[in-house]
């Protein structure tokens, strides 16, 4: 992307021991020129890309499998995206759901850290008609 700055969500997984308030205070102690806003999931930070990435790297170290991030289109505090101003935009519901499911992702990352082998998941298909027919015939002889 061509812009030299970015806005990011820093999302704390539901079972992360750090609170959004502690996260924001930690970010303030990092020597990087970013704007920070506390949110219910963690924080939104904005600044030069380099500074934002520096904060992210530092913050992640504190709880690598429970701190997540993605970029955000709208700048911090943008009225058009402000929940208090208009009610929530569709993306909010999405973030809410993904945030809840981070506990599952976290378990996956922890498995990898421990070097565990994870068996692949087999796709569930529909029952073949032939088998269903047999079941029906058995049920209603």
């Amino acid at each position: 992307m061509t812009l030299d700055h970015e806005t990011r969500y820093i999302v704390l997984a539901p079972d992360c021991t750090m609170t959004p308030d502690q996260l924001v205070r930690t970010i303030h102690t990092i020597d990087a020129d970013v704007i920070v806003k506390e949110t219910c999931f963690g924080a939104v930070i904005s600044g030069k890309t380099e500074a934002v990435r520096k904060v992210l790297t530092e913050v992640r170290k504190m709880d690598p499998t429970r701190i997540y991030s993605k970029v955000r289109g709208f700048p911090v505090g943008d009225q058009r995206r402000c929940r208090a101003h208009h009610g929530s935009r569709p993306g909010f519901a999405q973030l809410e759901k993904e945030w809840k499911d981070l506990t599952m992702v976290e378990k996956g990352l922890q498995c990898l850290e421990r070097g565990e082998k994870v068996p692949p998941i087999k796709k569930k298909g529909k029952m073949p008609v032939k088998d269903l027919k047999t079941v029906c015939e058995e049920a209603c002889p």
């Binding site: 208009h86 009610g87 929530s88 569709p90 809840k100």
Partner: protein, 409 residues
């Protein structure tokens, strides 16, 4: 600040979200998005009974539930989705019914394209705001004092003078220059009423030229035509209490409005092309070489089933007409077919967006074309009521509602 809840899909990706918000801001309202808990979206869809594939439509349903459950407060509802999206069209219509059945909020639906601009949405938003803000005024059933109503429409300008709930003067003229047309009809109506401009206690303006005329005549009421016309229609038809559907086939756009006790709770406005408007009937009359006032009776003598005509476009419609005449059809049959073509399009385009409630009141200048009323009767299965002075609904509504601003009343 009036809060208009937006239930929509695709607005932000069709470049129309900022147009919607601009229209709302222009009428002193703001768009809001009912907050819903993510966990409640699936249960809302289950309760609603229609499970759309597109997740944004599921969210629309959950948001409507939040309004019905009063877990989110708003004053009016705007339901909108992309034009030509079948799934969204089904959800849009069903959600409109759901909102009407479960809340008392006024609702408007709209299907947009990327060409939709705030101007097209302005009258709709303004009407939503009027219904919320002027509830008491709209509940007024009697005109008091001496007042005038001016309706500056796209085809004609109308004026009405009323005194103590009686029409004492009226006049209309084709709209040319907005000012001079209004001046002409107002002077004629005043002369007929035997009163002078100075004696008027209040003036109400409506229609396309309402703002311009409102300023010039220092009107006490400047109000969009959806609510004003509804009021005029129920007053003229003496159906002020209970439910009704008002159909107003205008020169440039058509309105279909459902009312409860004279106050609109749902409306649609517009039309894809002039093929479904009064303008098409004007063109038809011209081509058949009769006055527009004679077209209705001529159509009543004809048989519309003999002439195939159903065009969304006035140009193609006239082509159908020319072809039919060339094929030897009578002018009466062609006139009847033209009226049916308009009626069918009103049915297909406008009346699918609202819940038609009986009685049906047909108003506007086109309601004087009896062939069109007959065509509406055939389409709807019931003859619409055409009240006396049905072309003056806007002006009557203006005179009636502006009397609410007379001091001492």
């Amino acid at each position: 600040m009036i809060k208009i809840a937006q239930l929509s899909c695709g607005t932000e990706y069709s470049a129309v979200q900022s147009e919607i918000e601009a229209a709302a801001t222009a009428v002193g309202a703001k768009m809001v998005y009912p907050d819903v808990d993510m966990e409640k979206i699936n249960s809302a869809v289950d309760r609603f009974g229609f499970n759309p594939v597109s997740p944004q439509l599921k969210l629309m349903i959950a948001r409507a539930m939040a309004l019905a459950d009063k877990s989110y407060e708003a004053d009016a509802v705007f339901i909108s989705s992309c034009f030509r999206c079948a799934e969204a069209a089904l959800v849009r219509t069903e959600l409109r019914k759901f909102i009407q059945n479960n809340t008392r909020m006024p609702v408007v639906t709209y299907s947009f394209t990327e060409r939709t601009k705030s101007g097209q949405l302005l009258t709709r938003m303004e009407a939503l705001v009027t219904i919320v803000e002027r509830k008491e005024l709209l509940a007024r059933e009697r005109q008091v004092g001496l007042t005038a109503g001016l309706d500056s429409g796209s085809s004609t300008t109308k004026a009405v003078i009323m005194r103590d709930n009686v029409i004492i003067g009226k006049s209309w003229t084709p709209t040319a220059d907005i000012f001079s047309s209004a001046e002409t009809v107002l002077q004629e109506a005043l002369a007929q009423a035997g009163v002078t401009m100075g004696q008027l206690e209040a003036i109400g303006t409506t229609g396309y030229g309402r703002f311009t005329l409102g300023k010039k005549f220092k009107a006490k009421l400047v109000q969009e035509e959806l609510t004003t016309n509804s009021k005029g229609a129920v007053w003229l038809a003496d159906r002020q209490k209970g439910e009704a559907t008002i159909i107003d086939i205008g020169g440039m756009d058509n309105k279909a409005i459902t009312v409860r006790d004279g106050i609109p709770d749902n409306f649609t406005m517009g039309g894809i092309c002039a093929g479904a408007s009064g303008r098409f009937l004007e063109l038809t009359a011209k081509r058949l070489k009769v006055e527009i006032t004679e077209l209705g009776a001529m159509a009543d003598r004809g048989d519309h089933t003999k002439v195939p005509m159903n065009s969304y476009c006035s140009i193609f419609g006239i082509q159908d007409l020319v072809t039919s005449l060339a094929a030897g059809h009578t002018v009466e049959d062609v006139a009847a077919a033209a009226c049916h073509s308009v009626a069918e399009q009103i049915y297909e385009q406008q009346l699918q967006e609202i819940e038609v409630r009986k009685p049906i009141i047909q108003v506007g200048g086109t309601s004087l074309i009896s062939g069109l009323v007959t065509a509406m009767e055939h389409t709807l299965g019931e003859r619409p009521i055409v009240p006396p002075h049905s072309q003056y609904i806007g002006a009557v509504g203006g005179a009636l509602l502006s009397s609410g601003f007379i001091e001492g009343h």
